[in-house]
Symmetry: C2
Subunit: 427 residues, 2 copies
């Protein structure tokens, strides 16, 4: 097939997928929660029943990944075993048990002329999800969309293509056993990158929103090419700020957890800011604990004078999401300087203040403009599950539609229903 | 200046405006409601004090418009007189009296580990508004943005450039007298269309959202060029559906009002659907009243057999927003056929069912997917003021962020603030 023919065949394929998704979304919007939840439970069963098949497919993906010399971290994200497959199945069950986010009366009021107005939650419609290598995202993301009554078009990373395809089939099994249109969950059956381009640029008619989940290069591509609305997930350059009033022990525990519990997640801390007024007490203890835990500390001059093992931070460090056991540390002159640093270098994801002084925490909450702000708690709580949302499709750093953890409720819109008794509008 | 130099100077100008807006937005996010409301009241005073100046500028716009042979409807939209200026000032006062949409706790809950989570409303940041000829939009749109703590970049139609410029100056007077950064409300000081292109395609860094208000060609341009999030306002192809159980008198009054009260607004009805089972009773009476009121009726064969004065509707009529004294009328075979017609030809704006049968109304509410659905009330209630929102920037037909009337509350986002006591996340 020559390039032009292939391009045409991809656009035809994508249009077919889009039209089928739109049709499924209409049916899904009227499917009751019992059948949507039933499909999730049946999909969980299917995943358990087909676990051998999933592992065989995953072996194929792993083999190809090793041949391509992918990093250990990438291989770990890609790998599935019995435990991870069981966790996936349990995740579907948990999502089925969440309250139905659709059909809820979000607000209601009556007008002086007797009109009764309700704002009622409805699904968004059709959601496109573009994600990278983790195959379990296939199950999580599709389940959240189904829970919220949305049809979904999945486009996973090429590395996990075989694994995702079997998982997708389990989800379709679930839909079919619940009598739901199987096009409610579709997966793009090719790893051709042109399909992503077409999804972003030419599917306005079929797609209500695109949710990208992945690294910088994916996000950059989406920002450049998207002609459909995007619920954006930028990088997480998360800060821990130790106020002068911070308790040393709490500061140490929170910083260690925020950085080192898991270094590869978007809620992991990347920069530590320490008040100059308490740097003498805080910096050696906190940085010592980080170094002892295997973390590389990159500090400014003040930090290096207190921690000889620290290497020199460059300006680039302040805007780097390491996703690794590395932290940049800077001494700042009070809360305003911390806030200014975060405004300049942060990504609007999650920031934490450790402080005994309540007023300082409240000031931090007012002055810092990020999706999630924490006082005296680890940044690694930036997670839909930890927020009590059951599951999440990611953390949105944009300000349009959803911000922070995006769970089932955030994948809905609303409509107004107005009940009258013959009212006409005066001229 | 040659074209390349001009292009460069426009991009420089726009970047300067964007950076200033971003800076103003930061200051504005922390300005208390007293100063924001104070600025609105001072702007109302400035509009009253400068009314002669506004009228002189408007005369200039009107003269140019007449020279360009703009339609009577366009001239009417453009014209300002003492009454309209007073209405603009009163609009600002009314917006100042609305409740503050910023800083409200939208939800709060506590987690088993003791974390207390609040979702708190915050401004969106910087809003770009592109609108057409009506100069009063300058005041309304800017006031809603200011009320909700957002900085705004206004780009009005070239026809109203002189009028809008003086109105904009009144708003800046208001900001200055309240001690707010005057860049919180900026107007693009040129009618060059390249400025709109740059706003849509190259200002991601500065703009959080663009709100287009205008006709089809503007919306089309925005859809094609926008690289920033858009809160969309498509056309309003609004339907009135007369169920077989409709009371004839109520059906007549609502249809007349929905079509003829004002024909040029987006909530005006464009298509009437009548149940076949009651067509004999309903069609002659309702269409007769419309014709008597000066409305042209374009009907299908069934309608024309009952109303000899009706002209034949073509397929194009079902998807036309007339914004004029014309209505398309079709006889449909029950509620499902009405719903299918709306799904095929509607624009997702506003639809009304007239029915005595409550169950039919509820079915209509479930099955029709539009921003606003009304039972036994005129579609012309599709308006933020009529909804009790005080004012609106338009009716959003998209599903992302805001849907239906977009008032001050809809121009906000939120952030999460989480209060802990040293919590770290278990591995």
């Amino acid at each position: 097939m020559n390039a032009a023919t292939q391009k045409q065949s991809i656009s035809q394929m994508m249009d077919t997928i889009g039209a089928a998704a739109r049709q499924a979304a209409v049916a899904l919007a009227n499917a009751d929660s019992t059948s949507r939840d039933g499909a999730l439970l049946a999909a969980a069963d299917a995943i358990r029943n087909r676990s051998n098949e999933i592992i065989l497919a995953n072996d194929k993906d792993m083999e190809a990944a090793r041949e391509r010399n992918l990093s250990a971290a990438m291989l770990d994200r890609l790998a599935l075993d019995a435990d991870r497959i069981e966790a996936m199945a349990r995740g579907l069950t948990a999502i089925s048990q969440l309250p139905d986010p659709v059909g809820n009366v979000l607000a209601e009021w009556e007008r002086p002329n007797g009109l009764r107005i309700q704002r009622v939650s409805v699904p968004l419609g059709v959601i496109g999800i573009i994600y990278e290598s983790r195959p379990n995202v296939t199950a999580d993301a599709a389940a959240l969309c189904l829970k919220s009554g949305n049809a979904v078009i999945l486009r996973g990373g090429s590395e996990s293509f075989n694994s995702s395809r079997v998982i997708h089939q389990c989800l379709v099994d679930g839909l079919e056993s619940a009598g739901i249109n199987p096009h409610a969950i579709q997966m793009i059956p090719t790893t051709d990158r042109q399909a992503v381009g077409y999804l972003l640029s030419s599917m306005n008619e079929y797609l209500d929103v695109v949710v990208p989940r992945g690294g910088k290069s994916l996000i950059k591509r989406v920002q450049e090419e998207a002609r459909v609305p995007v619920i954006g997930h930028l990088e997480g350059i998360c800060h821990v700020y130790l106020h002068a009033s911070a308790d040393v022990e709490m500061a140490t525990e929170i910083t260690l957890n925020a950085k080192m519990r898991r270094t590869g997640i978007c809620g992991a801390a990347e920069t530590l800011l320490v008040d100059a007024a308490a740097a003498q007490q805080l910096v050696p203890t906190v940085c010592g604990a980080l170094i002892e835990a295997g973390c590389e500390v990159r500090g400014d001059d003040s930090v290096r004078s207190l921690v000889p093992a620290a290497v020199a931070a460059t300006d680039e460090d302040w805007s780097t999401e390491y996703l690794d056991a590395i932290i940049s540390v800077r001494v700042v002159d009070g809360l305003a300087a911390a806030t200014a640093h975060i405004a300049q270098y942060g990504s609007g994801h999650t920031e934490c203040i450790v402080a005994s002084n309540q007023a300082a925490a409240e000031e931090f909450f007012t002055d810092v403009d990020s999706a999630i702000l924490l006082h005296n708690a680890s940044t690694q709580f930036a997670d839909g599950g930890e927020f009590g949302m059951g599951a999440e499709i990611g953390i949105a750093t944009g300000r349009i539609h959803a911000r922070g953890p995006v769970g089932a409720e955030q994948l809905t819109s609303y409509k107004y229903v107005v009940r009258g008794s013959g009212q006409t509008r005066p001229s």
